[in-house]
């Protein structure tokens, strides 16, 4: 039997990061394939390649035995019956469910189009999520996030001219309640009989193991395991996602329990308090997008609620969206957080600004001949250093870090780790959201987030990859709080 989809030797680089490092994957018709891996393992890039939204640097894409590598794009994918439900919603919020269905089906037009679109989406919604209670004539923007997700999923299964052959579901159950999630998985299994294949990405390992025929595990841009689901257990999966040898608590023996608390407030979800002591480096772990950034922003915007007395600084992770001022020089990007302190007679002291920038260029090793060069002349890693310098150059003693090492090369990382430790020893406190397991060894303590709550608090000697992964991936049997 020819595979429905055959991917060979896919490679994709983003600056220093190898998102895909020679990935082979085949999906058979009617198969449910579970795809798991920790943050940055390459899952998203892989499905984006398959959906036609990311062009790989190298590799081969075949659909039903036809080589489509050249010029493979969204239209090619949809014409071959490949549908993708992305985590960010690709619905138009100002349109209704029926209207959004019309957008993706060119053939729904002319007289009576609305009734047909409505009938199509309602029939699919009824089939996938019986008793969903969604009115097809309400604007998507007015629906709850869970119902939006239902519409998006159901829309992927609607058929007009081309039959659906493969549906990629990226964390489909993340905003569905347990009933809807079960309905979806049951529907996916029912459609297997029609030959519809599904690729399922989920942080709920129980879900993967019960729904999938086969599980592919990715790590560091590679496929590290490809096995029948029946041969795997949850613990084995967790083991496959992490690195083999890992010594716990490389940061051993540094923590000072007697130090004063600089942050102290109720953690998200209310199960654990969120505390930070002077000189501590505390990690916020868990899968990406499970409420860590929101927690940092809550502290930044309402420091009083966390009994913060000292000044706070924020190191953004999404450099383009939250961090860099693209029109400014490196110098001004470093100094912006300190402008108020750099005044002389009410005016910015240009000499002081330059001096500050130059000091930090040297301290943190920003690779540029001149700090007056534009910020965009720097590589991503060096831009990130600028954002660190901005926070550390300021008077703030509490530093909030929002997954700042995204897409940063190894060399830069180790320089920054050393700097963080050095600053912590000098009395600064760090709250560090990171999506990379390796970085947690640099933390004194770790809070693990799942579904917008702190679900585990790991003391120094408990910080292991396995413990973090166990807490990040929920077993379905576990009671929902």
């Amino acid at each position: 039997m020819t595979a429905l989809v055959e991917l060979g030797g896919l490679e994709k680089r983003y600056e220093a990061v190898r998102a895909l490092d020679g990935v082979d994957l085949s999906v058979a018709a009617g198969e449910v394939l579970g795809l798991v891996g920790h943050n940055g393992a390459g899952k998203s890039t892989l499905i984006n390649v398959l959906a036609g939204t990311v062009v790989p640097d190298a590799g081969r894409i075949e659909v039903r035995g036809e080589d489509l590598t050249r010029g493979y794009d969204v239209t090619t994918a949809t014409d071959r019956g490949i549908r993708c439900v992305f985590q960010e919603l690709s619905l138009c919020p100002n349109l209704t469910a029926a209207e959004n269905t019309r957008i993706v089906h060119r053939s729904i037009r002319g007289h009576g189009w609305h009734e047909r679109a409505r009938a199509l989406i309602m029939a699919t919604l009824d089939a996938v999520f019986p008793g969903h209670g969604i009115r097809p004539d309400r604007r998507i923007g007015d629906l709850s996030i869970g119902r939006r997700q239902m519409v998006e999923i159901a829309r992927a299964f609607t058929e007009t001219e081309t039959p659906v052959r493969l549906v990629i579901l990226d964390e489909p159950t993340s905003s569905l309640d347990s009933t809807a999630a079960e309905q979806l998985l049951a529907y996916v299994r029912r459609r297997q009989a029609d030959g519809v294949a599904t690729i399922l990405i989920s942080h709920l390992l129980g879900e993967i193991l019960s729904a999938a025929d086969r599980v592919v595990v990715m790590r560091d841009g590679k496929v590290v395991a490809d096995r029948a689901a029946s041969t795997l257990a949850r613990d084995a999966l967790v083991g496959l996602m992490g690195h083999v040898a890992q010594q716990p608590g490389a940061a051993a023996g540094r923590r000072r329990l007697d130090a004063a608390k600089v942050l102290d407030g109720p953690g998200p979800g209310g199960r654990h308090r969120l505390e930070l002591r002077r000189g501590e480096v505390v990690g916020l772990a868990g899968l990406a997008g499970h409420g860590q950034t929101a927690a940092l922003l809550a502290i930044y915007d309402r420091p009083r609620a966390f009994a913060a007395e000292a000044a706070l600084a924020f190191v953004a992770g999404d450099r383009q969206a939250d961090g860099v001022f693209p029109l400014w020089s490196i110098r001004d990007n470093i100094a912006v957080r300190s402008f108020a302190a750099l005044r002389r007679h009410g005016l910015l002291d240009e000499g002081g600004v330059s001096e500050l920038a130059e000091t930090w260029r040297q301290r943190i090793g920003i690779r540029t001949p001149d700090v007056r060069n534009p910020i965009l002349s720097l590589s991503g890693g060096n831009q990130q250093k600028v954002l660190f310098a901005r926070a550390l150059a300021s008077a703030a003693t509490i530093i909030l870090m929002d997954d700042p090492m995204r897409g940063v090369d190894v060399g830069t990382k180790s320089e920054v780790y050393a700097l963080i430790r050095q600053e912590a020893t000098a009395g600064r406190s760090f709250l560090w959201y990171t999506t990379e397991l390796d970085e947690l060894v640099h933390c004194d303590r770790v809070y693990v987030f799942r579904e917008d709550e702190i679900v585990a608090h790991l003391e120094q000697d408990e910080i292991t990859e396995r413990a973090v992964l166990q807490a990040s991936f929920r077993a379905d049997t576990e009671a929902v709080a």
Binding site: A321, D322, F325, L327, F339, S394
Partner: protein, 316 residues
């Protein structure tokens, strides 16, 4: 050379000056050299009003996409009316008159900001709504207000030193000061930071709300002040005296090289653009072309400038 132009920001405003000088030279050639200085003097005088309102508009536009003050014309008219009635033709009341015009502007600006904040509407809509109310107030207040400006004020607006209007010299000093505010104060840097990325600015410790309030207040205060000065120059209040400043204030800012995408602004460009627009009128008049062609060319010029600058992120 190109790198130097880019780094110093001279490139942003050079175009406006090249345009102004070219147009002036053409005018001089058309007129066989007659009245070359008079043209320039007149231009420098008229430019003052455009530059003053455009300075406020520029700070507003620099705070990013969607930020435009549409209430400027109404505030100009209201400021003129208030100033003239406070001055009541008396030289002694000139300063209180200007202060009253500025205070009017501060009130309008604060109202604009309150609408933006309380109703969570785009600044354009907020300033549009308030402009209706302010304009109505100005018409009601200004109707029948046939007060002549104080003699000393009128004299001042026409005074010259070596063919350069005194008013222009003062305004140049003012814009130089505002250039320092833009580049060298925390407020000015905050405006530019917000214009590039409001979220990043907030996370970098910039007080976004306070900066917005100051910006809208500054714009309206300058509009009020300009109204008072313009009334002195033109011999009194007229009900539609502000109308020309709506499109002109935006045009001067854009031609002067300020980015409507936000975060990039400069003051020298305002003078270049204001002179350019005024001298263009003079040139076309000298060439015997009517006001229709003049407006047409102004429009084409604006579109050409923005297309040449193009490719930036969508400024909404």
């Amino acid at each position: 050379m190109a790198a130097w132009l880019a780094r110093t920001g001279v490139r942003d405003w050079l175009f406006a000056y090249v345009g102004a000088v070219t147009v002036w030279l053409v005018t001089v050639v058309i007129a066989d050299g007659f009245g070359a200085m008079q043209t320039l003097t007149a231009g420098l005088g008229f430019a003052v009003f455009y530059v003053l309102v455009a300075t406020g508009q520029m700070f507003v536009i620099a705070t990013g996409p969607g930020n435009i003050d549409l209430s400027i014309p109404a505030t100009v008219t209201l400021g003129a009316g208030v100033a003239m009635s406070v001055m009541a033709g008396s030289d002694a009341m000139i300063v209180p008159g200007f202060l009253a015009a500025i205070a009017t502007g501060i009130a309008v600006g604060s109202f604009n900001y309150a609408l933006i904040r309380a109703l969570r509407i785009p600044p354009i809509i907020a300033t549009l709504s308030s402009s209706f109310v302010v304009q109505s107030t100005a018409i009601w207040y200004g109707r029948g207000l046939s007060i002549k400006p104080p003699d000393a004020l009128q004299d001042f607006t026409f005074a010259r030193v070596l063919d350069v209007p005194v008013m222009t010299l003062v305004a140049v000093l003012f814009t130089m000061a505002m250039a320092v505010v833009l580049r060298r104060t925390v407020y000015g840097r905050s405006v530019l930071a917000i214009g590039q990325n409001p979220k990043a600015a907030h996370l970098a410790g910039v007080d976004v709300e306070r900066t917005r309030w100051v910006t809208y207040t500054l714009s309206a205060a300058l509009a009020g002040f300009t109204g008072a000065l313009f009334a002195g120059f033109s011999g009194g209040v007229s009900l539609d005296m502000g109308a020309q400043f709506l499109l002109a204030s935006i045009a001067v800012v854009v031609i002067g090289g300020t980015s409507v995408a936000g975060g990039r602004a400069n003051l020298p460009g305002l003078w270049g653009a204001a002179l350019f627009l005024f001298l263009l009128v003079t040139m076309l008049n000298a060439a015997g072309v009517g006001s229709g062609v003049r407006q047409l060319l102004t429009g084409v010029l604006i579109i050409a400038v923005i297309t040449a600058a193009g490719g930036e992120q969508r400024g909404r």
